[in-house]
Amino acid sequence: MSRNLSLVCFLVGGISLNANAYKEDTHAEVLTRQAANQSVLQTSTALSDLGLNSSITDGTQQFPNTSGRLRTIRELLEDGARFEDSGLRFLQHFYNPNNVNGEGLNIPDLPTQMSSPVWALARPGTVSGQERSYWDARQSLFDALTKPLAAEREAAFGETFQFLGQVVHHLQDMAQPQHVRNDVHCDQPFPCKLLRAFAPSLYESWTNTNRGSLPTDSSGYNITGSAFTSTFNSPRRFWNTEPPGLNSPVVGMGIAEFTNRNFVSAGTNFDRPGIFPSPVRDESTRLDRDIRDLCTNANPPCPNANLVGPITFYGNPVKDNFTGITEFNQFASSLSIFDADLRNVVGPPRLFTLNRFNFSRAHSFLIPRAVAYSAGMINYFFRGKIDLVPDADSPGTFLIKNLSSEAMTGTFELYYDYDDAGTVNNRQFLTSWDRSIPANDQRNIGAIPDPTNPAPKNPGEYMLVFKGNMGQETEAQFGIGAVVGKFVSNSVLIFAETSSDAEGLNLFIPEHLAQKFLLNPGAISVQVGDEILPPMFVTRPCSPPELPCVRLRSISGGGSAGLEVTENNAFVVFQFGTPIFFGNTPEDLRLIPRETLCAGSIRGTSLFVNVLNDPPSFQVRFFFEGKVLFEFVLSLSAADRSVVLTNAKGVRLTDVNCRVSIQ
């Protein structure tokens, strides 16, 4: 029967042929969710750099998945982890690192089966049916940053995160021993029995049923450390760092190599020596345990509390070539008089089997790594970091900064947004520069042409996009190569109120603007309610002394205003009067746990305003050199006297509870 005929037959039979190393719920709700939570998407400015709200779970920021439904960023990643099992994609979810050709499944008469990494990293347009690979995600990210219409960019963001979820699904598969030992499993009687392939994976069912209590803490893997990022410095190396072949699992550090080397599977257990070089059965590791002891305090409880008798376990050393740590897994495999479900006594000990005690111990090794490698892949995808800032040494010109630890060679494109009569947030290409910038270095790119036609929606706001070679991601691999974005704004950021009863707020001010303030405070004026206060003047150093700071002041009969400008936007978080955290950027602020922010107070570059008669609500406008730099409405909550800020469009700026908001 031809491969095509096989496919047709499956479809005629009306079967939904979906397969997943772990069940879909395990992939989505546990492994991918935890990976997202532990990735840079949650812990850094990766999203705000792309011009997005920095929450991965915010229901007000949703993008369409490929089914057309709007989803949050984390849900898109989870959807990807689910969708990767649709159709016949499961055929590409295996990889045997021992095989010198790096093959996946090789089942006759089924559609083409390629290995997991080849499928997940396929170049767009090169593999029939694969339109959701790592490189498709790269293309989608470029589109999300550069497409003219907002709807196009939103669709592309949806694809970016969903496709990335589909890629990390593969790394999770590689943490299921059957998928790196080509141990086919099929637990639907229909059609598996018909295909003579009925072999349910008890491991997967057990894992899914107990997905609420899986050990997902991957803190043992420092995925942001240089050891990890320098080891896993290409997408492929997450699977295997060594060329496929017998030596690959022996010395490799990829997730497929780790799992293949250290774990047996149902169909490649100790009683089938010779299929794989390791692990091997070692009689000296034999250990007899009574099932009653094993079931004491077992969670979840054992299904049959009345069983009595021994289970014999065999162990093997589990070596992690990345960490260099070897731990002994006493519960690698079992000889048992019980069935695999541990519900019944089935007679004399069978050959080796795997039961819940083997699975539970395997989880402690495999689940944290599945999460860590998935989070590491997300971090890798978003590892690039760039910026566009004024060059203080050459007024009127700008620097492009490569803030990454890899050199960038390619094109830096600059875009801005505009509205027209029919559509809003259209994106317009402005200019570009071909540059090669070493890691952690910068290049002057001269002046930026004024965007005039069409006029920008928000002057001073740009999207800087890099495409080209960065580290191991190159144009030679894929036409665009790596893609990095940075939303650039010269506007002032409001990030927090200073205290619950204050009439002030903390600001991040572009450094070049701060210097202008200090050089010419008389050009600053503040409108409080209906009154425009007199120009500011320098008074005295600020307090507390920890902050290098200059205080400006303006007073009139109707009110007063003060501006404290710290050097290089320095801020400090106090708790019970003790400084506990210093920072200079919005990124620093995001590193502080919300609980700390809520319990402490923040001081930095600050604007204070007072108005006579304490009205419940009044408008504040900040002028410099005759132009409005920013404005907001300040309201006092009647309930707790907390301050509420809204911008000129009525959008609330601050957080009621701990008053932190990056705008």
Binding site: M1, L5, V8, C9, V12, G13, G14, I15, S16, A19, N20, A21, K23, E24, D25, A28, E29, R33, T57, D58, G59, T60, Q62, S67, R69, L70, S86, N106, I107, D183, V184, H185, C186, D187, Q188, P189, F190, P191, C192, K193, L194, L195, R196, A197, A199, P200, S201, E204, S205, W206, T209, G212, G267, R272, P303, R594, E595, V656, N657, S661
Partner: protein, 236 residues
Amino acid sequence: MNPDMTIAPTGSCWVLGVALLSSSLSSHAFVYSAEAIEGWVADAETGKPIEGVIVVAHWQLEGGFEGGSPVNELKILEAVTDQNGRYSLPAWGPKFALSGRLGSKSPEILMFKQGYKFQLLNNDWYRDRDTSKSDWDKKTVKLERFYGTLAQYAEALASPSSSLWVAGVDVGDRSGSYCGWKSFPRMLQALDRLEAEFRTARVAQATVVSSLKANSKYLANKGCGSVSEILEGKER
């Protein structure tokens, strides 16, 4: 590769098609029913019954070579505990399922009352178990109060929210039925009220409710009617 697990080629297409159907009839049940479920919910600390706990039970058909891929919902039922903490779900069946099979963990039961941890209950998993019975019939479930921040509470709701989304909407990609969410209106209304609290506190956490709202036009186009009317209790 394990040689016993090689998938062997069969004859021709129509033979396979017929065989698949006959296999479906012989190898596992395709007519399902469920016995009624009665249970009680109590506070884990005080042992006192809890009134107003929303209970959603769903029987999910799974597909795929390895199983575990939701393909349809055979039944979704909702109930609310009374002053004695009692809830009951009626028996149902027979119902026919031509694709997928009822996962042995079914029914999955979700329990929610604000201030308590969301509870998700499965049947114990083992092969060939009787799926017409629930392990939780005639049982008392202890709900634990939640101690933590609102943000932590929101995060803890993510898993049940996913279950409700998949059961109520996502299975539609495989079954064509996108309106299952209308079967648990009181759960949605409770989560809607909770999301309002999240918004007030600036906790950015979407639940199944905000997902439904965001996709209201999509769902209306699928013939499901109005999300807002369900949330306002105007439609059942």
